[in-house]
Chain length 291, copies 2
Amino acid sequence: MSAAEQPLIKRMAVIGVGLIGGSLARVLREKGAVGEVVGIGRGEANLRRGVELGVLDRYSLDAKEGVQGADLVFIATPVCSIPGVVAEIAPFLAPGAIVTDGGSVKEYVVEACEQLMPEGTFFVGGHPIAGTEHSGVEASFATLYQGKRCIVTPTPRTDPAALAKVVEVWKLAGSTVPLMDPVQHDRVVGAISHLPHMVAYSLVNAVDGYDRFGGELLSFTAGGFRDFTRIASSDPVMWRDIALTNRDAILETMDFFAGYLAKLRSMVEAGDAAALESFFLNSKQKRDAIL
Amino acid sequence: MSAAEQPLIKRMAVIGVGLIGGSLARVLREKGAVGEVVGIGRGEANLRRGVELGVLDRYSLDAKEGVQGADLVFIATPVCSIPGVVAEIAPFLAPGAIVTDGGSVKEYVVEACEQLMPEGTFFVGGHPIAGTEHSGVEASFATLYQGKRCIVTPTPRTDPAALAKVVEVWKLAGSTVPLMDPVQHDRVVGAISHLPHMVAYSLVNAVDGYDRFGGELLSFTAGGFRDFTRIASSDPVMWRDIALTNRDAILETMDFFAGYLAKLRSMVEAGDAAALESFFLNSKQKRDAIL
């Protein structure tokens, strides 16, 4: 970008400067797409670290103050807190400001937040499907979103120009940006992300609780188990909020999964060699196709 | 090793030259611990490739012929076939020969094979807890067993000198070698390996079968899902045999897991924030402790 060009975003406020918020700030800075980044949060040490790392230009512990003059506000806090954050900042938003988020559940967030926005400011829901099991600004990096998908969830009430700008931001971050209805988003992500997390958390708890051998079971695990359960190390508060806000889709997909597990159990019980091999083969073929 | 020293094993026959068999041959050759490696199998192209890759010195399509003069026979075929292989080769084993295996289920294998061994030859069960989702001799590599565990499963009938030699082989391959009763082995491995595979296979089938969105669900999956389901790409025939031969332990651990899944389901249904957070936190803490 030449010095004469205006950046895409003059001032971005990031509320919740962790892996998700920090990584978006990093990549937009790297692309010269943002003039100033203001970090907002409650943990001052983390925010100070964000400035030291060059992720933020400055920070504020007060969201009302921090969002002033921002043309883009990115909320990257746990899902349940997002509507409360929007309610708090709404009266202090600059005219034309766009608020977007990175929450993993969209119907709950979008429905609540759209209603809270003052005239002439705009909410657009988003969900970058990217992450690691690490958290905090230290864990953030500019290529987190490279080659990933960020689902953006407009509704009939979404402002087209605001939508276009949020899509552009995520494309700049390196993601492809499918658009999806918030309800459809919650079912898709319920199946491909929330369900696997529920399964992984249950599995680690079960293996840990299986006490036939004095609790040393986990010490025998090999690479397969560790990879398989990596997502069971994800942030408990974040996942508590997802389970609370995408309840129906999670229950539906858990029941769907439990049906398959029961089907496999009956094949094992019956010693049905042909059915077992075909169940495993279908899984292998479907899994290999997404590599 | 100086030229004057005898290698630990003069001639090793490997029955089933894939990832497991090929990798053991590679590392023992690298350490100078084996004089000659004879590959045995049904797929001649694979065996020829094993010679080209330097994994094998020569090969035979006939197990009876291939094991002649071998002081160590390593059987790395699917679990169900192991007793049949031992029955076939038993009359042709050299005096003092040790037969060991790499099967993932031990009670079934050890009980059957011990009874088949002629006087003056010895069976010792083993299970290297290592692997990737790839198979075939092309996928084998000398460091597969480095830093892993190989559980060896002696019984009251096991010859102590044969046991010591099998332990030494796996230590040379870079593994630690816990000894375990075959029944205990099957419960431990049922929980930490067989159960996760049953869960992963069920999950991929469930997500694939969840048809609300026209079957394109899997295309939305991110790294977390891919890592989580890597083990669902494992060899269907190998896992069919494991499910058939470790039936009781697998049913027990599946039921145990299903209990945890049901517990989590009721927390989600009740919207119990505190219980959800503590369920996820326990999993995270236990998982992080095995990193």
